[in-house]
Amino acid sequence: MLARLKANRSAIIAEGRALLALVIIVVFFASMSSRFLDTTNLVIMTRHVAFNAILALGMLLVILNGGIDLSVGSTVGLSGMVAGYLLKGWEIPGTHQVAYPSVWVVILVGCLVGMLVGVVNGILVAKLNVAPFIATLGMMYAVRGLAELVGNGQTFTQLFGQKALGNTGFVSTLHDNVLGLPFPIWVMIVLTVLCSLYLTRTPFGRWLYASGSNERAAALSGVPVKRVQVRIYVLAGLCAGIVGLLLTADLSAAVPEGGSGYELNAIAAVVIGGAALSGGRGTVRGTIIGAFVIGFLVDGLVLIGVSVFWQEVIKGAVIIVAVVVDQAQQRLQKRRTAKQVSGPGSSPAAPAARSESTVMTRA
């Protein structure tokens, strides 16, 4: 038990720090505004958090591999626009007939669109060896362009569907409360549990952490590192597709610029949650807490009437402070491990210390 605690110490510290930040935020805003801790307000804020948290889960997978996905914001826009287009009716090419797919088909297609973007990202990164930053930067522009093209720059509004066409229910299904909580919050909860199981309980999770920490060693150990890489980009795309659908239902409209800038909030949540951008380190719990930190901070600042400009400054500062503190704690941790190693009865490996410091500077 003690050994287990020791082994997980760095993860616990990282999460503990994010949790501490969250507690400080809640206490601060609760003292500034009596409305902050209202159940209604908490539900509204959590619903905002849900969008970012779902994206952040996908982003976590990519970051654990040492990659980054800048295209998820655009994918949110594209999946929403495709959903909007289908709900408004799809003119079958060559005929003058218009098909109105049912809501479940629309949802399925929205998810597939996200996964398809992920497949392209995955092939670019894993098979064609394009740096993840560049590959997904390119896709960020390209996919945003596609989102515009779907509606030719137009937005799709009033997506409630018509009974006669059999396509009602999109907005109500993805937006209304279920068992007292808005649907997006349920999606967040389910995906969090699934993602957590996936990472901690399946061989795939083990492969992901291993290839993120040392890809060469993982490959030589028989880990299918390329397959792992493709799969995480597909899953990140799927998360973005889901958010696109939820956002469209939320607005009951699909706008081509939907989701722009979301990728950065997702990255911020993952980083605040204690993940290392160099890969191999990070948890689902930390990421979700990170999403709450950002969401509650922004909504709290709005609630107490801080200007939009200052909101941005404060958000930026919180992200930077999180990483600076993380670095300091990592260094402390390394020193403690080094001391343990050089203790009596064990002969330590000098090269090990060297490679650790490389890991640290990368992190």
Binding site: T202, L220, S346, A350
Partner: protein, 524 residues
């Protein structure tokens, strides 16, 4: 540096001590790499350092060149106590080093590499490319290497890159020049030129410290011989008084602590059959790093592959594991052609590699001991979609016992283990895949003698259970005492095969240094 401007600063005759290392101790954690070494370098003389891997030669050179600082003891330069806290300090004091590993930037030109970090500037502070090119050209002419200073280093073959590394040290105009394995990639004619350059340098009063695994070559160039063993300086002698047997005896001192040469030999069927394998060198020169190698390994047999640096052993191992493609030939595992299978498929078929560079290719640093052990076999330890965690823990704990990893527990971080125990984890991971053929590249590198013995007794235990083992080593004593069959490679080819019980160290060394072309096809 060339021609007439070669006056050596300071006064003094040839043979006088220019640098003295006094009571140098260097510890890494609990291991002592140097145990109180006193060492002298003389003006205008070539001092050759002999010693097996891990004897402390390179550590001492790192201290003298400012890369590392001694734990205790100090250096005296011409009688004055100095402390070197960085390679730049050493360079300012007139000490330059040619490193064993190439430290070149492939994307820069030969000239830019030669002057990297010490760029010549004009009055305006801009780099004076003209003067740099001129000086670089002079040094390259001196080394009789027909390459232009404007060539990109990435376009050069390995031997030429080593020449650039040498040129870089020569422009420093040092009074003490350390050469750590300067000839590992050089051709015979390039070595001759280098020796001529060394003679030029010593005539000008430069003190040279020379390290090489090519013992005969090193004896040829030596004025003074110094032998290291287990972190201590054990013998010093002038060149006239030494010969190869003396050097070897001083290097090894006592016999290895382990000797498995009398183990019974009962082999089964051929498990691994390497048939005419060729591997193209990744340096882009089109050279074959492995040239038409054929080896059979039987169940229960431990075959050792010995050779000098650049003999192509690691390249062969990586090709067998599936990391590098082969240009020709076949790899047959237990009767089945695996030449075109991926790494995971080869592991599934029963062949797995324990890589040479433990830190870079072996360990997953952010994972625990247990997770490192089960990494290769985790896909088989499942219940439905999930990892069967109880079964994983049971198998990991059994493996920890089996390979005798000393650890606080399977959940301890892998970085908390010593080098020897880390290596046991990497071997244990390979064994957990239940292989038929185990490939090990330098399994004893950087670990202490006790752990070495344990690792080899583990291999012999596994061999008795029917495992076929092929391992690479650079240490002759290990090759002789811990194998059933000893194969020597040189320049990409198999040159000789020995029965370790019926051969001598000198024979093996001589074979490893032969020009492979002369022995073309003599044995395989």
């Amino acid at each position: 540096m060339t021609g007439s401007d070669n006056t050596v600063t300071g006064s003094g005759r040839s043979g006088e001590v220019v640098l003295r290392a006094i009571d140098i101790v260097k510890t890494y954690g609990a291991t002592q790499a140097l145990k109180g070494v006193n060492f002298e370098v003389r003006r205008g003389k070539v001092t050759v350092l002999f010693g097996e891997n891990g004897a402390g030669k390179s550590t001492l050179m790192k201290i003298i060149s400012g890369v590392e600082q001694p734990t205790s003891g100090h250096l005296e330069l011409e009688g004055n106590r100095i402390s070197l806290s960085s390679p730049n300090d050493a360079r300012a004091a007139g000490i330059a080093i040619i490193h064993q590993e190439l430290n070149l930037c492939a994307n820069l030109s030969v000239r830019d590499n030669i002057f990297l970090g010490h760029e010549l500037t004009n009055k305006g502070g801009a780099v004076d490319y003209g003067r740099e090119s001129e000086l670089a050209q002079q040094v390259l002419d001196w080394l009789e290497e027909p390459i232009s200073p404007e060539t990109l280093v990435g376009d050069l073959r390995l031997g030429q890159q080593q020449i650039v590394e040498i040129a870089r040290a020569l422009v420093a105009d040092a009074r003490i020049l350390i050469m750590d394995e300067p000839t590992s990639a050089l051709s015979a004619s390039e070595v001759t030129v280098l020796f001529k350059v060394i003679a030029d340098l010593t005539k000008r009063g430069v003190a040279i410290v020379y390290i090489s695994h090519h013992l005969e070559e090193a004896i040829e160039v030596a004025d003074e011989a110094v032998v290291f063993r287990d972190g201590q300086l054990v013998a010093t002698a002038p060149a006239e008084e030494i010969d190869l047997p003396w050097v070897v005896q001083q290097m090894v001192g006592r016999a290895a602590d382990y000797d498995f040469s009398d183990r019974p030999r009962e082999y089964g069927d051929v498990r691994l059959s390497i048939q005419g394998v060729k591997v193209v060198s990744p340096d882009g020169s089109g050279r074959l790093s492995v040239n038409d190698v054929s080896i059979d390994v039987r169940a229960g047999e431990i075959v050792c592959l010995y050779g000098l640096m650049g003999a192509g052993r690691t390249e062969l191992m990586e090709a067998l594991a599936g990391r590098e493609p082969i240009a020709a030939g076949r790899i047959v595992l237990d009767g089945e052609d695996v030449t075109h299978l991926s790494i995971p498929d080869r592991i599934a078929k029963g062949m797995v590699l324990v890589p040479e560079d433990r830190q870079r290719d072996g360990l997953v640093q952010l994972m625990s001991v247990g997770q490192n052990l089960s990494l290769s076999s985790i896909a088989n330890l499942v219940k439905g979609p999930f990892v069967a965690r109880k079964r994983e823990a049971v198998e990991v704990d059994a493996q920890v016992k089996d390979v005798r990893v000393k650890t606080a527990g399977s959940r301890a971080p892998i970085t908390s283990l010593s080098g020897g125990n880390q290596q046991k984890v990497v071997i244990g991971r390979a064994l957990m895949t239940q292989p038929k053929v185990l490939l090990l590249d330098e399994p004893s590198r950087g670990i202490d003698v006790g752990a070495k013995g344990e690792i080899f007794s583990l291999l012999f235990k596994q061999a008795e259970r029917g495992l076929a083992v092929l391992y690479v080593t650079s240490e002759i004593s290990e090759a002789l005492s811990a194998s059933h069959r000893l194969i020597v490679m040189s320049k990409g080819r198999v040159v000789r095969e020995f029965d370790p019980a019926r051969t001598t160290r000198a024979e093996v060394m001589a074979a490893s240094d032969t020009d492979a072309a002369a022995h073309n096809g003599s044995s395989s």
